[in-house]
């Protein structure tokens, strides 16, 4: 025996896209049609899934160009910074095997960082407004091998401050942790954003700080926990903004 045909307006009924009289007709039809009653549940599942759908809005047209412009700038910047004879990585970050916890720094490494920061600033054709050498906090710099960082701060037309971080041997955080960059002054801090690291090798991060961070004199990189109730925030790197 052939199954009865499904009512052609059943989908529109579930969507609420029928006129009142058509809706009423479906309501009268359903009690006598097992096929439609059976179909109805499946259609309602799709309709419920649509509740999670994002609004049908296209991103602004200029976004693609901005992404390509930033990508181009970062590629050029990388080429500029690459040591002679040293190949660049395939993506934006150097890949490395996953390392353990944060490694500590020797005093010699800190000196290299400072020197690197100065040379770095001098070599750039378009000099950054501020270059900050980031070194481990004293209590952690217990003479083990090194991680360090350099931050370049560039004011933006919007008055925000764009910060480019380059971190060396900065370990990938544990799954429940992440890093955060702060502008600090006395007892006040402003977050410039959170990030993770690739571990051994170089990690590059681009972050933005609000205009009020201009007057702050210290940069801090802290290791944070996803569970904000947990204590134990550590300052991993610190630098003085000249």
């Amino acid at each position: 025996m052939n199954r009865p045909e499904r009512h052609p307006d059943l989908t529109a009924f579930v969507l609420g896209a029928l006129d009142p009289e058509e809706t009423e007709e479906i309501r009268r039809h359903l009690p006598s049609c097992s096929r439609c009653r059976s179909e109805l549940e499946g259609l309602r599942k799709v309709n419920r899934a649509l509740d999670a759908a994002p609004p049908p809005v296209d991103p602004p047209g200029h976004l693609k160009d901005e992404i390509l412009t930033r990508l181009r700038a970062e590629r050029e910047s990388r080429t500029e910074y690459t040591e002679p004879g040293k190949p660049t990585s395939s993506g934006g970050q150097t890949k490395s095997p996953r390392e353990g916890r944060l490694r500590l720094l020797s005093g010699a490494a800190a000196a290299v960082v400072v020197a690197f920061g100065i040379v770095f600033g001098l070599l750039r054709a378009e000099a950054p407004v501020v270059t900050v050498a980031l070194v481990p906090t004293p209590e952690e710099a217990a003479g083990l091998d090194g991680y360090w960082g350099v931050a370049e701060i560039r004011p933006q037309p919007s008055d925000n401050q764009r910060v480019e971080l380059r971190l060396n041997n900065f370990d990938e955080p544990e799954p429940d942790r992440y890093y955060e960059l702060w502008f600090a002054s006395g007892d006040r801090r402003i977050s410039a954003g959170t990030f993770t690291s690739v571990g051994r090798g170089e990690t590059r991060v681009w972050l933005n700080a609000p205009p009020e961070a201009r007057s702050f004199d210290t940069l801090l990189i802290t290791e944070e926990r996803l569970d904000e109730r947990a204590s134990g925030t550590e300052v991993a790197l610190k630098g003085k903004v000249p």
Binding site: P8, T11, V46, A49, A52, K64, K95, D187, P210, E228
Partner: protein, 218 residues
């Protein structure tokens, strides 16, 4: 001589990286093949193709997760730049590009959420604890819980041909009746009904393949 899809695939295994292709051939490449080109000279063309395929989903999911258009724009920029910077970590053996891109998007959205939640906070002298400002928006866990379903539904909608997606968007998001959709689009009422029914069937098939279905209907 024309270059076949087989040639393109073979090119992915060349020691010097993927074989360069023309713009038309770039369109025919899979997501994974485009990712393989992000480390080479065709990076801009490859990221542009990936953007065209996924920008609507990334932006839409960002808008849904963060509830703010400018943050969703910032998110979209960060996500596609992260795709380029982290392309070396993508391993197709561990899952498709869409799933990987979802993880990148979710991670970037959480970063933006945290950034929005923490601004200027006084810290007591000598206290290493960082005080977090609270707001009334959804917390990170809520954002994560909903985001995979949002992603899947968005991809399922994107997989529909434009005329089919249009009737769903006008009915579901626009609140229009079938008759109003017919009047607005100039498409006969019977065609609107057929497209709506077929669009729902396609959505159901797409979602049934994903765990989104289980999450949506539990």
């Amino acid at each position: 001589m024309s270059v076949t899809a087989g040639d393109v695939l073979e090119g992915e295994r060349r020691p010097g990286g993927p074989r360069p292709v023309t713009s038309g051939q770039m369109d025919a490449l899979s997501d994974e093949q485009l990712v393989a080109r992000l480390g080479g000279p065709e990076v801009e063309a490859a990221i542009a193709r990936l953007y065209d395929r996924y920008c609507r989903t990334v932006f839409g999911v960002g808008l849904k997760m963060l509830g703010d258009r400018s943050l969703a724009e910032e998110l979209t920029q960060e996500v596609f730049l992260k795709v380029w910077r982290s392309s070396g970590t993508f391993d197709s053996a561990r899952g498709g590009f869409s799933t990987w891109l979802f993880r990148v998007t979710r991670s970037a959205a959480l970063d933006l959420h945290r950034k929005r939640a923490r601004r200027v906070h006084p810290v007591p002298e000598g206290d290493s604890q960082i005080l977090a400002a609270r707001d009334d928006s959804a917390g990170p866990q809520e954002i994560v819980d909903e985001s995979w379903l949002t992603w899947r539904v968005s991809r399922a909608l994107d997989a529909l041909d434009a005329p089919y997606r249009e009737v769903i968007e006008l009915a579901y998001f626009g609140g229009l009746s079938q008759r109003e959709i017919s009047r607005r689009t100039g498409v006969p009422l019977g065609t609107v009904k057929t497209r709506t029914a077929r669009a729902f069937k396609s959505l159901r098939e797409e979602l049934v393949l994903a765990d989104a279905w289980r999450v949506a209907t539990r």
